[in-house]
Symmetry: D2
Subunit: 341 residues, 4 copies
């Protein structure tokens, strides 16, 4: 078979490990050949390809990013986009497609599958908010980077009387904040799933200052204050009806200073969380996702996505990942609350 | 309630995270008090205790090792050992015990439970070879340390014509070798579950030298050659009937030199793999194990052990972990074989 | 002798290593005793002390921050401050003082020395901008943290078409930006010593986008645009007559987006750069500074500060460090320019 | 000009950073062109070359190893070797050579220079034992790797009653052991420059066990016992007249067990110390060495080697580095002794 591979959406440590596993097993075990598509769906849409064989995937396992490039191009929103992809795949003699990406990328893959194109998906999200899989690669790396930052901030918090706010990724789900905050020994964790009361945040911070050294607050970039508790920069609302703030970390730090009189500083890790070499867990998971994705292709089991269940890689329908966001369960959040303060 | 806590067996990153979670939730949420036992089962056997409260667990989350100390003392093998423990617990007014440890430690805990002592277990093994739980804390840290070493060795392998052998932990099970080898891009992985043929190892190494840069071989400390394929240092056999070698990494490196004529070097990571700060995953898992262990105590659900199933922490019978070793499944090992060579 | 020790100003990896070395050598080799002062000059000013002996310094070598706490209290600006310190030192029976700190802290130490108080200084600045010493501890740690972040950003830059701006510490001197930018392979480095022309920055960025993957720009927090080249948020000027901007990293990123049309993101590492465990170099330097500071005290060579010259620790007059800022030499900056673009 | 570049001897983090700086500045600033020689002196000897231009050095700054390969081939010991090199250089139209390497490599360069070949040297040694330069790149990386290992071992030492021996690189000089031991808080450091008395080692270890947790001993691979104090494996002597042992780390650990009865374990870091990404310091130093080496070439200042003096890069005669080994000064070693025990 001749198989196309593409990576879509934001970059994520582990993408290259998936690509490598797909190609190595596809070539060595099954004798397939590959075509790399450049920059996500823009590749098959605009016929941008690159050579993809065993030599091209040599040495890429430990490297972050994606050798195929990525973009947020959505062919569903392009007039005749699906038809152009179908034609380009046919012209290139491609029998099947492996699409590695998140909600948007897999959404397009689902649509292509419904239109009769042979496609298998590999789920990707740093935020860990895709359903149907226990974890996605990239998440463990992001959490470890955030924890390392929190570890460093503890020594400053011990030496100065200064509240420290760490803003981590997580637009709709608080997984990174929850895991990093709990593993980093944060004194408070604010996540999108549980709107916060800034007054209670400040009460907790003041009581912390009285008993111990300065507090560390971990905030998801998508965390939101309860309506009416904190003046907002703008009234704009996101898809979830949450009011969007520019830089919630900075906003919370400023509010703490104003309300408690204590100095406060924000650290915004941003893109640092999604770059660089993947952790062992993410390389392992990404590699296994790749191996099982090429198996699914080989089995002609199209319209499926690989997923992690416990320690097993399973196949689920392509749309299972995108049917609904995987949010932090309230009971899990309340496990963390025993460490607040 | 008044609760005793002990850690037994080899140290393991995450032990302190368990202790902290147990104490924080036990004190803050349930109002329990704690007694720390020193050096594993030697503590309750010889009445060696230490203060264990919220102040004692402050700041220990990121620290490897165990603030309670550890040992391999087995009270079952001591005359009247069980009775002395029962008496000491009674004298100290202890209502229940949390035992954090591996096969031996949990074996003693099972025995105490059968004798009517209230005990809850927390599974611990760097090697990840305990049954009934998907993973144990410490394993992810060990794998990451091994992968970082393998990453470093790749640059040497690229620059010199020298086969590199990395010996990692894993006496009876090859989990660390398998995960680290796959995540590190090793060219060969040797594990205890699959006795190796040194002749075939050398054939693979020679063909690798011809096509690319020097090979990296990851070997579990418990890996064994097929009988008759490699001269052994001694005829001693271990519990599994495998012939034991002192330093399989060094032996394999030497054999490669002799048979292929290529230079070969061994790296033996040893204790470095079990020390230092735990990864985010291990802190998360250890913390949740601690939270759920104190819940089990509070529910008077004794004779149980906490375990990871997917993303859930569950309770299983204490002896579930020790009934049989969790070995690497042949199908999982064969997934890795596509990368050999 | 009975010796007081204090740490002033911002925290910095290596402070604890200095304290440990001072106490270990002071007690074991010279038989001195110590008093720890809390929170910088506030300690001797308000008589806030803590026990400081060999047990207190055990295990602190690898820990960031300072076990003595710190503050920016300046007794020179407090009415009768110097006299209160003199009286408190006399009441505590203190023969000499070791002051570990930066410009402000050492400035006070110089003043005390002129007033006849026996004091020895240890220079401290993350920014590496103190004169009279080749390097100060903490700097190497900060640079390594910044380089690790830049390394991670490269993989994102390779995968997306997005200019990345990294703001690092350095209010008056560009040492961290220069070292981290050069070691991290940045495409442009902006430092306070060389006001930048935002138009030329954008020209370089556009040409970079045309030839390769996305550019990474490293900016000192104190970098300033040439007057008239970039609209400023406020007209406020700092001590150096430079116009202060809130968040130069964010400002530069925004300006790049506006002028070039390319997406741009800023990463602001902030306090993460000054926390956590020191690098080997910083531990070595800090330890040697401590050993030589206690030697100077023992030799009654007061009014001096320890300093690094090549591989030697030497003693220089206390005011040598603060006489003028050590700025980046233009010739050194122009060495880096060969890598721009 | 047309310039040849080669790397000789053991690989060392920073080699690629030198090559990149040489080529980037040579091409962009001076308009020179380059030829890469493969595998050290074997390259010009056997006419093994590779393309070396700006595209080839892209992205290699953070990578360990050397893109040119390396070997220990010594053309001085090959019949007519020097003449063959002269002829090959002439045939390739090469005007000058940059040789990056240690004692052996620079020794050959000195010889070539005496024979009228235009050559400039860049000193390289992980062990930091070359004269005429304060530091060489690679050393800081090796020390940091060793310190990270020692940090990890501390937590095991705190939890178990087990002496830990760490063998680090350093055949003739104890720089890595001294820096890593001091930065890692070792309880004893054994270096080649100061033959040790195993009896006194064991006395110190026993007294340590009595007062605190288990000791950590750092040993250079070239450390030697005082004659008569420790039974030796063989009577073989090295170039320095020291008796050579196979694996001094293992030997010391064994001797401690035998003499004190305490369990003891050795960790042998081996090649892990010389691989992987260089630290910021090593990238900075290697990059500056490269920039100044190409300047020397451009200035036709042949027969020189670049060297670090304080914060300056200077030029010294090629043979200055190899005239004598730079050993650890006894006064520096005695600074460390205050921490022993």
């Amino acid at each position: 078979m001749r198989i196309g591979v593409l990576t879509g959406g934001g970059d994520c440590p582990g993408l290259n490990a998936v690509i490598r596993a797909v190609v190595r097993k596809g070539v060595h075990q099954y004798g397939h050949s590959f075509v790399g598509f450049r920059d996500g769906w823009r590749g098959p849409l605009e016929n941008k390809t690159q050579t993809l064989g065993v030599p091209e995937v040599r040495g890429i396992l430990p490297r972050g990013g994606t050798i195929l490039g990525s973009s947020r191009t959505n062919p569903v929103k392009v007039d005749g986009g699906i038809e152009r992809i179908r034609k380009n795949l046919a012209d290139l003699g491609i029998d099947a497609l492996i699409a590695i990406g998140g909600e948007d990328t897999l959404g397009v893959a689902t649509r292509l599958h419904e239109d009769g194109i042979a496609v298998v998906g590999v789920p990707k999200t740093i935020d860990n908010d895709l359903g149907a899989t226990d974890y996605t690669f990239g998440f463990d790396t992001a959490v470890n980077i955030a924890v390392e930052a929190i570890d460093r901030l503890h020594t400053t918090a011990e030496s100065h009387h200064r509240a420290l706010v760490v803003e981590v990724m997580g637009r709709h789900a608080g997984w990174i904040a929850l895991h990093a905050g709990m593993a980093g020994g944060a004194n408070l964790i604010l996540i999108p799933e549980v709107p916060f009361d800034i007054g209670r945040v400040c009460t907790l911070i003041e009581s912390r200052f009285q008993s111990h050294y300065a507090p560390i607050v971990v905030v998801s970039e998508g965390a939101v204050p309860k309506e009416g508790t904190m003046e907002l920069v703008s009234g704009e609302k996101d898809d979830f009806g949450h009011v969007r703030l520019g830089g919630i970390g900075d906003r919370v730090a400023k509010e703490i200073e104003t309300r408690t009189g204590a100095e406060s500083r924000a650290v915004v890790l941003g893109h640092v969380q999604r770059g660089g070499t993947p952790t062992a867990f993410d390389r392992w998971l990404a590699t296994r996702f790749g191996l099982h994705a090429i198996d699914a292709i080989h089995d002609k089991d199209f319209g499926k996505m690989v997923a992690l269940r416990g320690t097993d890689i399973v196949r689920v329908p392509l749309d299972a990942a995108t049917r609904e966001l995987k949010l932090v369960d309230p009971s899990l959040y309340s496990e963390a609350e025993v460490f607040f303060g």
